[in-house]
Symmetry: D2
Subunit: 134 residues, 4 copies
């Protein structure tokens, strides 16, 4: 099984665990890190909507907790007629751990439909050398 099939399977599995009672809109995400490991996450909503977490955010949390440092590929999956892209906040989160070349794979339940690069999605990312660490 190639990498993108593996990410699709992981995202689909965690998509089924999504906690989305308010929007009824389940999302799953899976990451291949640059060191060759995989991670996944689903959305976790909250009755106070802004306190919820996105699927990509959960997958990134899992990646950092697991000791990886960089996203090589991230797949986002939802059951939607529109192809779902990461929300702006998640693009910002991906940006923190990825190069502009990072691949973002967009999938619905039938498979991967489109592959973009992070720089296609967030071409003018917020950068700030003055805030940068070390």
């Amino acid at each position: 099984m190639n990498t993108s099939s593996q990410l699709f399977e992981l995202a689909y599995k965690v998509y089924q665990q999504a906690y989305a009672p308010y929007s009824k809109f389940a999302v799953g995400a899976a990451i291949l890190s640059s060191d060759g490991r995989t991670y996944s996450g689903c959305n976790v909503e909250n009755i106070s909507y802004p306190c919820g977490s996105c699927a990509e955010q959960g997958a990134i949390s899992a990646m950092i907790a697991g000791g990886s440092k960089e996203i090589a590929q991230i797949l986002v999956l939802a059951d939607s007629q529109d192809l779902i892209t990461p929300c702006g906040a998640c693009l910002q989160r991906i940006q923190e751990f990825a190069t502009p070349e990072c691949e973002v794979l967009l999938a619905d339940l039938s498979g991967i439909k489109q592959v973009l690069k992070l720089q296609d999605l967030l071409p003018h990312a917020f950068q700030n050398q003055e805030l940068c660490h070390e």
Copy 2:
């Protein structure tokens, strides 16, 4: 005084009120709504960093509270050698109330340095007809 000078003055004024004791990075934002009114906001940080608010978010809150519905122009100002663009989460918030043609004016303390359109910054915005209201 033309509109963009007016937005610059508004953003500069509120920039001076920013509450940024953690990052030491003050930001001001000002909006021209499609109905010709102006609004502004600054960043408001929190000791729990994710609970903070961005300047653009504050300006959008002011716009909605004030009864306007659409962003025609939004100016973001900071004292930075790098030109500051809205973070991904704020692009998502602008997207909720703007067309792809919405102008995003990027400024430092000496003036407006660049004008982009929302579609330049967030070309593949998260959309979801299934979640859309009425």
Copy 3:
């Protein structure tokens, strides 16, 4: 008109501007700052739910933009059979600008129903001297 009636009127007015197409749950908030000024805000939802803003957050943004530094009283208003309290994230935001004695007024459309202190709502607030500024 006394202060709490004034806060109720302000919160009710901005409640009517709330942008809540996803939850259909409008909220208004109004602040009396320690320097005797008033501010208000409503919730501003987003199709990416975690990118939305709470009413209290909007009112705090308005307070900081307006130059006040401390919340003396904050009123939260919604049309609900349950009495609405600020969500945990908003308690955290209030905490940043208030003493434990800060009054939190809970209202529905018919008036103020209960008054609590911040310390009643968030008795063991996250504090961290090591992050504190100055």
Copy 4:
């Protein structure tokens, strides 16, 4: 090894992975779910501070992704002279998946220092029957 020691070890392990270049304040969290499983998470900051994730949020994301539904105990660990409690937003997130009796264990690097119940930390949680699902 008893459960709380196990949670301490898990939180300590993930604490060492925390990504906190902006605050320099690493946090680890570990959950015992009501079905007897364990999960952990660390904070993951972002250059746009409000886009960061808390440790508790990461642990909850892991729990939901892992198929558990309820938090029985959650431990929060940081290297701090002040005893660290969950921020308000995380109390709100814990509330979504816990009863008022849920135990919150507060630890520093030397061990567990205090045990509180969720109801001690968030005694008047935001509730809204009208938003509730099902």
